[in-house]
């Protein structure tokens, strides 16, 4: 038997209830189990950090947000441009795709110090790391999207004597958009990870730097607050991308 779909109210209330129950369990079970607050703070302690250290948190949020968004824009733009080149030139794709694949297999934690060595300690290397982490999924998805027009669609445009420019704008590019947006959704959260990893390795500001400092100073409340803030930021970026996607792909 098919289950009845949940009502709109239930879809709002249930996740709130679920999260509240988990937070309540966390609040009461952690002290009960004798775990010290400098290892796992309770939710109210973390909330206290937000109330008392808001200026510190927010001043560390801005650099990370800036690096994430800049990395997102640069990484995805380069990926889209390269995908267009590859989709139109098999020679270029055959020559350079394996190199890019190899580059992508290097763990970001190994690549980050190299980028920081080259570009120094400013914001630029963090932006580059965030861009690198966004780049590959978008490249792969965009190539596939640009090549996803059906044979009939291509023949239709050919019968109409469409120019290559028209085939790109009327067929291949709009065809690629759903796949592009699925990778942009992923990139909207991974770009934050990239920026934070970059800040871990060499920075004195940003949420990544705050996470490292809080960890080594046993300021668990501050650590958890920084984590909550970076997650919220990633969720916000994800929501913005999802909103734009809904506006652009309005035909389904």
């Amino acid at each position: 038997m098919m289950e009845r779909p949940l009502s709109r109210q239930a879809l709002i209330v249930l996740p709130i209830m679920g999260a509240t129950l988990i937070l309540a369990a966390w609040q009461f079970l952690v002290p009960l189990a004798g775990i010290p607050a400098y290892i796992v703070p309770t939710p109210t302690t973390i909330a206290g950090v937000f109330a008392n250290q808001w200026p510190l948190l927010i001043s560390n949020l801005w650099p990370t947000l800036f690096e994430s968004i800049a990395g997102f824009l640069i990484g995805n733009s380069v990926a889209v441009l390269l995908a267009i080149i590859f989709a139109y030139s098999r020679v270029m794709q055959a020559a350079y795709f394996p190199v890019i694949l190899f580059f992508n297999t290097i763990p970001i934690l190994a690549l980050a110090p190299i980028i920081i060595l080259i570009f120094g300690l400013g914001m630029l290397p963090k932006i580059i790391i965030a861009a690198v982490i966004c780049f590959f999924p978008t490249l792969v998805n965009m190539i596939r999207g640009l090549n996803s027009a059906t044979r009939n669609e291509q023949e239709l445009l050919r019968i109409l004597s469409a120019t290559p420019w028209e085939i790109f704008w009327q067929l291949r590019f709009p065809r690629s958009l759903p796949m592009l947006f699925s990778s942009l959704r992923i990139a909207s959260t991974t770009c934050v990870i990239g920026a934070i990893v970059g800040e871990w390795i060499g920075s004195d500001k940003g949420l990544g730097a705050l996470i490292i400092q809080a960890t080594f100073n046993y300021r668990a409340g501050q650590l958890y607050a920084a984590i909550v803030l970076s997650s919220s930021m990633a969720i916000l970026l994800f929501a913005i991308v999802a909103y734009i996607e809904k506006k652009v792909i309005d035909y389904t």
Partner: protein, 257 residues
């Protein structure tokens, strides 16, 4: 009557790196301007391939072909060919109106401007009133195919090529669209080549039926139905002469398979 399409000793198929794969060899065919010809045959007999050669989507392997008095390439570039695929091939991000107008938006500047109300007239002619702003996924299969026909007709082509356009539709919708297509043909005088593997559809629509067989792809016979249809190509599906023409074709197709 002038000739719309003429093939002489035509070989069609595919070019491979090693060798050519011939699907139909030595085809001789002449189709008059304004004729409604149906092409009937089993899968693999080359009927869709023939349509693709006429539409300049595929080059012939050998022999000569002329389309509307010139090379297929020139005929295509002069925008005199409309093509309807088996799946409607509507672009999902364009609404009905924009899909119908697609041919007027591409193909460089060599197009004549679209007469005002042309799209509305087509929407009306194909029974799509009130659906102009809908997107393809909001339409039924029959409605999508009507949009595809309207798109093929927007530039008033002299030649309409239809590759099993109603093959995926239910029988009731298919019968209705057959009647509407005949009405459009009578009104526009467009030369129509219509590929199908339904014997009923082939006989009901065509003034002549080209019956094809497979292995190797060849023309079995070209049946002229002029004597059992009215001057404007009308007939009753229940007419005993239509039923016996269908039976003869079935026998011929079975004998050849």
């Amino acid at each position: 009557m002038s000739i719309a399409i003429e093939c002489k000793n035509l070989d069609i198929g595919f070019r491979n790196a090693e060798s050519d794969v011939t699907i139909i060899a030595g085809l001789d065919l002449a189709i008059e301007t304004g004729e409604f010809l149906t092409i009937l045959g089993p899968s693999g007999c080359g009927k869709s391939t023939l349509l693709r050669v006429i539409a300049d989507l595929l080059g012939p392997l050998k022999g000569t072909i002329s389309v509307l008095g010139s090379d297929p390439h020139l005929a295509r570039q002069s925008r005199q060919i409309g093509f309807v695929f088996q799946d409607a091939t509507l672009l999902p991000w364009r609404n009905v109106r924009d899909n119908i107008e697609l041919p007027t938006r591409v193909g460089g500047n060599a197009r004549k401007p679209l007469p005002e109300n042309r799209t509305d007239a087509l929407i009306s002619m194909l029974g799509l009133d009130g659906l102009g702003e809908r997107f393809p996924h909001q339409l039924s299969g029959g409605q999508r195919q009507r949009v595809a026909i309207a798109r093929a007709l927007i530039e008033e082509p002299q030649l309409l090529l239809m590759d099993e356009p109603f093959g995926a539709l239910d029988e009731i919708t298919r019968d209705r669209l057959n009647n509407e297509l005949l009405a459009i043909w009578r009104r526009t005088g467009t030369t129509i080549l219509f590929v199908t593997h339904s014997i009923m559809e082939a006989v009901y629509l065509g003034q002549r039926v080209m019956v094809m067989a497979t292995n190797p792809g060849r023309v079995l016979e070209i049946v002229d139905l002029g004597e059992i249809k009215t001057a404007d190509n009308a007939c009753s599906r229940e007419d005993p002469r239509i039923i016996s023409a269908m039976a003869e074709m079935r026998v011929a197709l079975e004998a050849a398979s």
